[in-house]
């Protein structure tokens, strides 16, 4: 998946567990876990919500990188 994230870092800085962060962002603990593992790319709405919770920009949490393609 071409989206890496530092969600776990920011969550640790805020001192909340996955369930608590999920409640703050109105999503389930499983969704937070999926995002942290890189198994799910959040929607724009959710990414903005998370950025708002951590008081950072979306780019501080999520980084998009182009996957290498065969010529």
């Amino acid at each position: 998946m071409p989206l890496s994230n530092r969600l776990k870092e920011h969550r640790a800085r805020l001192g909340v567990n996955q369930a608590e962060l999920g409640k703050m962002a109105d999503v389930s603990r499983q969704t937070i876990s999926l995002i942290e593992r890189g198994d799910y790319s959040p929607s724009v709405t959710l990414a903005l919500k998370l950025a708002g919770i951590f008081q950072v920009s979306v780019e501080d949490i999520f980084t998009y990188y182009e996957e290498e393609q065969d010529a």
Binding site: D26, V27, S28, R29, Q30, Y40
Partner: protein, 255 residues
């Protein structure tokens, strides 16, 4: 390779597939003709065995289902009790285990329900419905297992709603599926939709193979048009319902 060339290869592939299917079908047909008697004997024996011992098979399946469900329920409760005292990575691991236990419980519940009711229908002897002791045993199994399946399902939903109060819906209500999915977040919905689509794609193959099976059964075992009609209705209904929603969702909000 030029685009025109790619399209030509698809037509060629289609022709080759039809040829191979035709040859394969011919060989299978010849084998069926040669093996008609043993096949009929085997089918007759299986049918007799199911009607004689179906009550025992379903009884054993029912007991296994109840025992395995109780074990999973007990394990889930123990894990949830430990949740209160866990923190950090240990808490996350525990929550993953609880989610897995919950999903396993749902899978066992769904599969057993389908298997049990199908087996009940196949094993019930139509002749002498009331006076046959095997039928009585089957009916008792049906009542006990049916009750347990329903109670188990309600328990699973209540457990999830206790852990996540945002989850809505009463499993005894007709509106349950709609209310449940509306209370799911984006990742949960994605998972439900992906699972649903994969099940739809697999069901297409199952229906095609079932159609072939009932067609051959009509030819060789003289089962008549009944089974073919039922499978055909299911296949057509699936296509029509899928097409209906495909058009309906063209201009709808997808979130």
């Amino acid at each position: 390779m030029p685009r025109g060339g790619k399209r030509m290869n698809s037509y060629l592939k289609l022709l080759v597939t039809m040829l191979i299917s035709g040859v394969g079908g011919g060989i299978m047909g010849a084998l069926l003709v040669m093996g008609e008697s043993p096949l009929k004997l085997a089918a007759g024996a299986a049918d007799y065995g199911l009607r004689q011992y179906g009550w025992l098979i379903l009884g054993i399946l029912g007991v296994l289902y109840i025992i395995s469900s109780l074990i999973i329920i007990s394990r889930t409760k123990k894990l949830m009790a430990r949740e209160e005292y866990a923190a950090g990575d240990q808490l996350e691991q525990l929550e993953e285990q609880i989610d897995f236990s919950y999903d396993l419980g749902c899978v066992i519940n769904n599969i057993f329900m389908a298997v049990f009711f199908s087996g009940f229908g196949l094993a019930l002897r139509a002749a002498g419905l009331a006076g046959n002791w095997r039928n009585m045993v089957l009916l008792i199994c049906l009542v006990i297992c049916g009750l347990f399946v329903s109670v188990h399902r309600i328990w699973l939903v209540r457990i999830m709603q206790k852990r996540d109060p945002s989850k809505k819906g009463d499993p005894t209500d007709f509106k349950y599926n709609r209310e449940w999915i509306e209370s799911c977040d984006e990742a949960e919905r994605m998972r439900i939709y992906k699972t649903g689509y994969k099940a739809f794609a697999a069901a297409q193959w199952v229906l095609i193979l079932s159609w072939i099976g009932t067609f051959l059964s009509k030819l060789y075992f003289e089962t008549g048009n009944g089974p073919m009609v039922i499978v055909s209705i299911m296949w057509i209904a699936q296509m029509v319902i899928h097409s209906y929603y495909k058009f309906k969702l063209r201009r709808s909000r997808l979130e």
